[in-house]
């Protein structure tokens, strides 16, 4: 077929390059250097371009590099013959191979850009390349619509960012970040730039209500690309948000943080509720990304509020929590998407209701996915817990804000965050339980076979890192010092007298209140207790495995459909939370006595973001386009007149301003 060597070359090259990027970022963070500048001669005329690596971009670069390396391995294994079940192939490699390195390069470009042009150029490369990657599965029925929506949203986001940078650059056209940082453009313009940045970067990151494209586009791509889009591309968008709000726009106002925290808490709860309702495993993971982006934005919002309030140490705590969660989410979300890809490769289906019992058929994938699910549920001692715990420490310091509205507001936000965290655990319990436990619900699930070694390797690496970061979060936190110093002016002080095994932002000079946590000791205690319980049970219970038929209440043994299903698992939560906001409705039709037809259970729900945000906007655009259509049929003189009028108006503006 001739595609083997080419694929190996491209994925090998991308993997090595990504590892290199990881190494550079890691080395930079370890040394804690001053920023590295590199002038490059090509660029817009008269401005040139520059690359800058500083503490903030290096953290994100680390996430991109790691995910890029594992995605290359996974992609290589995924594309090879035999990785898929017969009759179910991924997209043709020619549709993926050219754009995969481009996608990675675009993300790295965004992170390294030292000026607005480089940033926006990389941003566009990233958007277009990922759009093409989504389109690689264009023969699936839902993909074209998802891709179109994605393109439209990406264009709107880029436009917002472009205008935002333009406003921040001011009349001097200071497009390099160094110059932008030094000049202020006045409160009104900065406020507009901040709102536009939240819209632009937020639409890419998946902030509610701009998230509508994300759960359609992310799952449509091949799994390793989904992992990159969900695990890393949203982080690159958050990098843009951090760069503008914390670095370029100067000293924040309190409402920047309030806006971000409110949107973030809404996003976290809405995202996880959506995720709970999903049947498609990849879409479930995409919605879970929305939730995590919400949590990160919430922490960033807190950091902005504390920074504006003159409490830099607490701001550093919130900001470090956000960045730590950025790293953690990129680890466990890539792992989960690889796992979903492995399930798709093994069974050919993404529907939760057709899976089940995979723990016996995928004995190596299952524990890895369990680690990912536990991390996503924020269970100690895994990494998801460490960063969410830090975030909650920041929330608990909320009463130290001086504005009364914010004191109360932060507590409300905290309630939302806690709800989201609890629901996330339920969501991943459902994900893992329905897909891997119980009995297979379809012939495909029965016939599933363990995936090949490269796919397993790509999952093992992030799984190990999830555990490692969870046990020793204090060490990772040290890598974030420079970033926090750039963003809020001071780094989170080292963990005091308790040593590097502990996360203990307590009683520091900045007036932090709170408690301490050590992943390592939690692991020791939990592991010891588990071992003890295991021993006790083994001693006092019967040894050996016994299998027996399930008790069917006297009926003859019924099939696997009688098991708890994904929809029934979610039902209580759906009834409590989703019947109002999402208008979830159930319809049960039972056959009349004597009829032999099957009963049916119909479940419908809708996303309010479509009804209240997307549709009105589209209706307006449609109406405007209809109006403007007349412009196409004017006479030559009218066109000349329009141009003349425009020219005279612009000249008049110039005359007035001068």
């Amino acid at each position: 077929m001739g595609r083997g060597p080419v694929a190996a070359l491209i994925y090998g090259g991308s993997g090595v390059a990504a590892l290199l990027v990881t190494g550079v970022a890691f080395a930079f963070l370890i040394q804690g250097d001053s920023p590295w500048h590199l002038k490059i001669p090509i660029g817009p005329p008269g401005l040139g371009a520059s690359l800058v690596l500083d503490g903030l971009s290096a953290v994100f670069l680390l996430a991109v590099g790691l995910a890029g390396a594992t995605a290359s391995v996974f992609g290589w294994g995924y594309g090879r013959d035999g990785a898929h079940k017969p009759g179910h192939h991924g997209p043709a490699p020619a549709r993926v191979l050219p754009f995969f390195p481009l996608f990675l390069a675009g993300m790295v470009m965004v992170l390294l850009a030292g000026d607005a042009f480089g940033f926006l150029f990389g941003w566009e490369v990233m958007s277009v390349a990922s759009w093409l990657l989504v389109l690689s599965t264009h023969d699936e029925p839902e993909t074209p619509r998802a891709a179109r929506l994605y393109l439209v949203m990406a264009a709107i986001g880029s436009l917002c960012l472009m205008v935002s940078f333009g406003l921040l650059a001011g009349p001097e056209a200071a497009f390099s970040f160094t110059a932008m940082r030094e000049q202020g453009v006045g409160d009104g313009l900065t406020a507009l730039a901040v709102v536009l940045a939240v819209l632009g970067a937020g639409s890419k990151a998946g902030l509610v209500p701009l998230h509508i494209w994300l759960p359609l586009a992310h799952p449509a791509a091949p799994s390793h690309v989904s992992a990159l889009m969900s695990g890393v591309m949203t982080k690159v968008a958050l990098y843009g948000l951090c760069r503008i709000l914390f670095d370029l726009a100067g000293m924040p106002d309190w409402w920047w943080g309030a806006l971000l925290a409110a949107l973030g808490s809404l996003t976290a709860v809405a995202g996880v509720l959506y995720a709970l309702l999903q049947d498609d495993i990849k879409r479930l993971l995409a919605y879970s990304t929305v939730e995590n982006v919400g949590f990160i934005c919430l922490s960033l919002g807190l950091a902005l509020m504390f920074k504006a309030d003159g409490k830099p140490v607490i701001a550093a705590l919130a900001f470090s929590a956000a960045l730590l969660h950025v790293l953690n989410h990129s680890l466990f979300k890539t792992l989960l998407f690889y796992g979903a890809g492995a399930v798709v490769a093994a069974t050919g289906t993404r529907s939760l209701e057709t899976l089940g019992g995979l723990i016996h058929r995928l004995p190596r994938t299952a524990p890895l996915l369990l680690i990912g699910s536990a991390a996503a549920s924020a269970l100690p001692p895994l990494n998801g817990f460490a960063s969410e715990w830090l975030g909650f420490q920041a929330i608990l310091n909320g009463p130290q804000l001086s504005l009364w509205g914010l004191k109360v507001g932060v507590m409300v936000v905290g309630v939302f965050a806690a709800l989201a965290a609890a629901l996330a655990a339920a969501c991943f319990l459902r994900f893992f339980g329905i897909a891997f436990l119980g009995r297979p619900r379809s012939a495909e699930a029965v016939a599933a076979q363990e995936v090949t070694a490269p796919l397993q390797l790509a999952m093992v690496v992030p799984a190990l890192l999830c555990v490692l970061v969870g046990i020793l979060p204090g060490l990772v936190l040290r890598l974030l010092h420079d970033a926090a110093a750039i963003a809020v002016g001071t780094a989170l002080p080292a963990s005091g007298s308790l040593g590097w095994l502990w996360l203990a932002p307590v009683g520091q000079a900045g007036g932090l209140a709170g408690n301490s946590y050590s992943g390592f000791f939690v692991l020791l205690v939990a592991g010891g207790l588990a071992l003890l319980v295991f021993r006790l049970i083994r001693r006092h219970a019967a040894s050996g495995l016994r299998r027996a038929d399930a008790w069917g209440c006297g009926y003859p043994p019924v099939g696997p459909v009688s098991q708890y299903s994904g929809a029934s698992f979610a039902q209580p939560l759906r009834r409590v939370f989703a019947s109002g906001v999402f208008q979830a409705r159930e319809q049960v039709s039972m056959p009349e006595p004597g009829e032999t037809g099957a009963a049916s259970h119909l479940l419908r729900w809708r996303d309010p973001a479509w009804d209240f945000v997307a549709r009105p906007v589209w209706a307006t655009v449609d109406w405007l386009a209809g109006r403007l259509n007349h412009l196409q049929f004017l006479t030559i003189r009218r066109y000349l007149m329009l141009m003349f009028a425009t020219l005279v108006t612009l000249l008049a503006i110039m005359a007035v301003l001068a």
């Binding site: 196409q632 006479t635 003349f644 020219l647 005279v648 000249l651």
Partner: protein, 221 residues
């Protein structure tokens, strides 16, 4: 040289602007073309004068091109076209003279308001020249949109180009090659317009551009 050089340049520039006003209210095509020829002669004189006071001989060449091409060749050719098409008695409908002139005065005021403060540090001569040139350009644009006849629009276009040359000669050190290429572009445009006139005339029996509107490739609107 200073005082008198400035005064004469100013006088010539202002005369060109004055002829632009005259161009706006001409009703007959022949007098329109004659007015354009006068403007071109004045432009040639302005270019020659600038060549003298700036001591840059290449401006004499510019003056010569303007004189030969725009004061003689193009007007004569336009007259012949009108004669061959038999439209030399045609009266063009112009927007009301009073309103057009009022609009034109407003445009001149706008360009003065725009250029005088902007080029504050530049030499006074350059500044005045720029303001005059911008006025000429704007008036020519106004003329292009207020005329229905294709010849009227072409004269407007040529007058616009006169305004550009006026701006160019006022600035020291404008390379000759720019003016040469502008002159050449005008020449080519003129030839194309000439061919175009006969084609329109052949098809529609009129030079009124509104007959063209029906023949655009956008369906039957």
């Amino acid at each position: 040289m200073g005082e008198i050089g400035y005064d004469v340049a100013h006088l010539l520039g202002t005369s060109i602007l004055l002829v632009s006003f005259a161009l706006l209210y001409q009703r007959r095509l022949t007098s329109l073309i004659n007015a354009f020829a006068v403007q071109s002669v004045l432009l040639a004189a302005a270019a020659a004068w600038q060549g003298w006071i700036q001591a840059s001989p290449h401006l004499y060449l510019t003056a010569l091109i303007a004189l030969v091409l725009k004061a003689v060749v193009i007007p004569v050719a336009l007259h012949r076209i009108i004669a061959r098409l038999g439209i030399h008695r045609t009266i063009e409908r112009v927007l009301g003279v009073a309103s057009t002139l009022a609009l034109a005065v407003g445009l001149v005021a706008l360009s003065l308001a725009l250029v005088l403060p902007l080029a504050g540090e530049a030499a006074a001569l350059t500044r005045e020249d720029l303001a005059l040139a911008l006025s000429v350009v704007l008036l020519a644009l106004l003329m292009m949109i207020s005329r229905r006849n294709a010849i009227g629009q072409v004269v407007g276009f040529m007058s616009l180009e006169n305004g550009l040359i006026l701006a160019a000669i006022g600035v020291k050190g404008m390379p000759l090659v720019v003016e040469m290429s502008v002159a050449f572009a005008v020449m080519v445009a003129f030839i194309i317009f000439g061919v175009f006139f006969f084609q329109i005339r052949e098809r529609f029996d009129s030079l009124d551009v509104q007959y063209l509107e029906r023949f655009r490739g956008e369906g039957d609107r």
